[in-house]
Symmetry: C2
Subunit: 321 residues, 2 copies
């Protein structure tokens, strides 16, 4: 799976739950690798923060704050209060438990460890069995062009509450980044590749902006299936729907399909759209795409698992339905 | 004042309280500079931790945890719990509020700021008006020789609960350290210099081990007065009394006086000893020292202020008693 934070974490969890259920039935489970967007990463207070990686990790570890969709549950905010006393910036919410994750990652990176290595170590310590793979070890920083000029992604997303329109996206550093060996190996070995219902511009789009990533996906033996993050014309969370308007396109399931087909021709073979958008199916199938229409809104663990099982049942050959 | 953590913080506070009371009476207060031991500093989880500086800072800011004698009051420990989940070391207690201090200091030091500068900035943000001065900007690390070999100071003090005997002390890096310009200026301008009732070997002794520090104190116009950390033959806190036994000397007020006179001849002109040790006064005065006998155990804020006022009244010319 290629994943951003929120939708990526939920569907990662759905696939993990589907895998665990299959194992309980005596069938083989999944070997799940999650290739995660690191374009949202930031440096703050000297910490190297990887919000999407951590959202996926906390979710798979059963530690996520489900109410907020980010951070750790049972979180406390003492450190943030103290930062405020010092007059330091607190617009980027760093809970006390989350700080521990960021401390250990930052220390490891400064010591020369690869982001891939420390991510695996941290996830393993929390009991995560899926392979959490940053898309690249080199820093890539997504920036968005707004009426205020180019903003770093978290400046736009968190500090401005993504309330300003985005008229362009760039991925600073992408030209020097490469998919890691672990990412390339996972793509080459995959039997199914899923693009999570994450933002096509600043989550999945960032991963695909890493030179060599799209080519590796096109060269993969496995089908590549994209799950629409737009349901009934709206993003379930975040600014993806508004970005379709301001960046060009249509905020709809058909718009998502058109986006991937135009921007990344030949890359995506199948699409998963919501029951609510079922009327679009004939037109989408007429373009040659395989389309799964199902309930894509993951309201709870059962919903996550159900979507995971629906995708696996439709697209993964041999999956025990 | 030259200060370690616990005793240094309490007497610093006592002097600050005495100064505030003098100002309330319409008299001039003190311009208080605290030269703090940094030999106890450590690096942990990538943080540059300065325990003595922070104990003094939190105490003067009214934020200290008076129950423990270190750290911040109303502290939480979520980050520490999370570090434990990751299998990281948690023997050195880093509360969530304290982590914020250490994050900002570490970030500033990595950005090339001097420890003196960031210390002043952090203290100022917390409303501390005294000048908090690290003894040096260069790292000095106190190590103690035990039956387990040389141990870093916090390994000995916190991790081993100072339960092993110390047969030697060394200050790694001291030869490359120098008193800062701010420290030298404070010493030169001082009208009174007080050695806090901190450990003579690993707190005050570390400050005095910085090349040029003892000379600057000897050259100062102001009298240098040492407050005994030994009362009735015992250290009020920590291993100072046992160190007198294992490092040579006598765990008594007289032993403290003998220590400073032998190790740092000509440096200390006056001593402050507890009422409990009054019987030693004639012998001490016979050596030429000026001795103040008073209540030195600072049980509460009133006790801190009383000791501060007693010292100022006895040793600072013109102090309004």
């Amino acid at each position: 799976m290629l994943a951003g934070g929120y939708g990526g974490a939920k569907l990662s969890h759905g696939l993990a739950l589907a895998s665990a259920a299959a194992r309980e039935r005596g069938a083989a489970g999944l070997e799940l690798s999650i290739i995660v967007n690191t374009g949202d990463d930031l440096e703050i207070h000297g910490l190297s923060v990887s919000p999407d990686l951590d959202t996926v990790m906390y979710t798979l570890a059963g530690l996520a704050n489900e109410a907020t969709g980010w951070g750790v549950r049972d979180e406390t905010w003492s450190g943030s209060q103290m930062l405020a006393r010092y007059g330091a910036a607190t617009w980027f919410g760093l809970g006390d438990r989350d700080v521990a994750t960021n401390l250990l990652r930052s220390q490891a990176l400064r010591a020369g460890e690869r982001l891939t290595e420390v991510t695996g170590r941290l996830g393993g310590a929390l009991g995560v069995t899926a392979r959490l793979l940053p898309m690249a070890d080199e820093p890539v920083r997504t920036e968005v062009l707004t009426s205020e000029g180019w903003l770093e992604f978290q400046e736009y997303f968190v500090h401005r509450h993504h309330a300003v329109d985005v008229v362009a996206v760039r991925h600073v550093g992408a030209e020097s980044a490469r998919p890691t060996a672990e990412v390339l190996a996972a793509i080459a070995a995959a039997e199914l590749i899923v693009l999570a219902p994450s933002n096509p511009f600043v989550s999945i789009g960032t991963i695909l902006a890493v030179p060599g990533m799209a080519g590796a996906l096109r060269a993969a033996a496995a089908p590549v299936v994209a799950v629409s993050p737009i349901v009934g014309g709206a993003a379930l969370r975040g600014p993806a729907d508004r970005m379709f308007v301001t960046l060009g396109g249509e905020a709809s399931a058909s718009g998502v399909v058109a986006h991937y087909r135009m921007r990344f021709p030949g890359l995506v073979n199948g699409f998963v759209i919501d029951d609510l958008d079922a009327q679009a199916t004939p037109a989408l199938e007429a373009t040659g795409a395989t389309v799964l229409v199902t309930q894509t809104v993951m309201r709870d663990d059962a919903g996550r698992r159900a979507l995971g099982e629906a995708i696996l049942g439709r697209f993964l050959p041999g999956w025990p339905t």
